[in-house]
Symmetry: C2
Subunit: 304 residues, 2 copies
């Protein structure tokens, strides 16, 4: 069934040119039309997001089975291994093999990997479901140094919010999905979505690794909450600024302050709150000129 | 710092009497005031949700460390063990001991438990972070039988949405939190919140077990997405109807149909969509009379 297409303004069309990678809501693999009934008991068809298992192997060792929308198995695999410290930044990846039929992805490295030690030490993180970080992720977190030169202009933040909220996405098509966007200044570069927010983050980490993207001057935007897990992953990726439409948890704030991460939440329309790393913010925009958010762009996230 | 109090209407006051248990946003243990800056660079103080570790033991064996807001460690502990099938419905709990200082909770049972076998078989579920279900949870899911006599009147659904959205909560106070509500007809009975949605569900499961609440005539309401994990847990709890403001995933819909669960999503204002178990719905309300949702009650969740 063809998707409805909203008419885009010239500004919205131009904004889409910023992206290197962005969601493809028209991809028939990513949603399915499902029949049901609406509030009047009238039969309706509606799009729902697909999720499929993907089993990850590292050099012949099975690591985990993930549920994912399945659009970038290679990026997800590499990013997952990086964010769990099972791959080191200087590891050389010799191959990433994806078998769609068998629903598996294999990452091969030149050097032997020491993932087995990682699997022994686990800590639950907060987040919507049951996040886990392994022992030395927290150790690495404590050693992380973020760029002191990085700047966030509030004009960039407003431009990013506007562009990201109007970008065609699975969220706009079917809902029930998380999004993360790697940004540079006022340009969104790589926009990933997935049923699990951790997957969306991991795909961006995989993209950055495979494309040797420098993190120091980047901004990370997420549609979800600023939990400990999001803060840990952003710091681990070396990105100094994390922004979200959604709200904060106390541990997320504590960790951001500890790492010197700029943490911005409840960013909607003209409003936002920064609870860590405020010194990187350059207030160059007039919030009054931004105004309130257009209700049609409202999505998940807490009220300010 | 005292919390701002919104003036409640008489109808809202009356609705609060439905609850056996509901959030206590004024509890100083659950939020913390944090200093930051707003969009104008002006210093602000804002409430953020606390999260703290809680290590769960079953009969002297350490099971897991959870991050939780910490309001009902006993319910969370029992519910977690039930929903992971580490406790059986006929297990007798002899004690639940909580040590606030040591941040641990111990559940003791009369009979020896067989959790060790469970820990061997894991499947990742979808959800915001990394949900896990153990092997025999899926086996039990396949054997589950839900009540065929259960009914959902649309007038109940509208009343529940209205009451739940106006109930004082940590969500309204600080955002960045999930909520789940056990309901009977048009009455919300037990409303739990937590940083992880799985914790909110588990606290309700613990409440039902410890208070011998029959599930067959209940309705489960969640603020979050209708993922595989939510469907599995609702079916496992024996509740025949699951409703949410938020959207669906394809696997969640598939599992609901397989189990015969009534699955209602995108329930906002007069709107909703049912994608499974529509036969339990009795369309006794006029949606036009319900109208659109008051914008001040909009919260997370996908657009319909």
């Amino acid at each position: 069934m063809p998707l409805r297409r909203a008419r885009r303004s010239a500004a919205e069309e131009a904004a889409l040119k910023d992206y290197i990678l962005r969601p493809d809501p028209a991809d028939p693999h990513l949603t399915r039309q499902v029949a049901g009934v609406d509030q009047d008991g009238v039969p309706v068809e509606t799009a729902v997001v697909m999720e499929r298992p993907l089993t990850l192997f590292l050099n012949g060792q099975e690591i985990v089975t993930m549920m994912t929308i399945g659009d970038h198995p290679d990026l997800l695999a590499v990013g997952y291994l990086l964010n769990q410290n099972m791959l080191r930044p200087d590891d050389e990846i010799t191959a990433v093999e994806h078998d769609e039929e068998l629903e598996l992805v294999v990452v091969r490295t030149a050097r032997e990997t020491d993932y087995e030690d990682k699997l022994k030490k686990k800590t639950r993180t907060s987040g919507c479901a049951q996040g886990t970080v392994f022992g030395d992720v927290m150790e690495k977190f404590e050693d992380a140094r973020l760029s002191q030169d990085a700047v966030l202009r509030t004009s960039w933040l407003y431009a990013l919010s506007r562009k990201i909220n109007t970008t065609p996405s699975l969220y706009l098509e079917a809902g029930a999905i998380h999004g993360c966007v790697l940004c540079h200044q006022d340009r969104p570069l790589v926009y990933m979505e997935d049923v699990g927010r951790h997957n969306a983050v991991d795909k961006i980490a995989g993209y950055m690794f495979l494309n040797k993207v420098a993190p120091e001057d980047k901004i990370f935007y997420t549609t979800g909450r600023l939990t400990s897990e999001m803060v840990i992953k952003t710091v681990q990726m070396g990105i100094p600024i994390l922004a979200s439409r959604s709200g904060f948890t106390a541990w997320g704030v504590d960790l951001a302050r500890q790492a010197g991460l700029t943490l911005i939440g409840r960013a909607k329309g003209k409003r936002f709150v920064a609870l860590a790393g405020e010194e990187r913010i350059l207030f160059d925009a007039d919030p009054a000129a931004v105004g309130e958010e257009d209700p049609k762009h409202q999505r998940k996230g807490s009220r300010a």
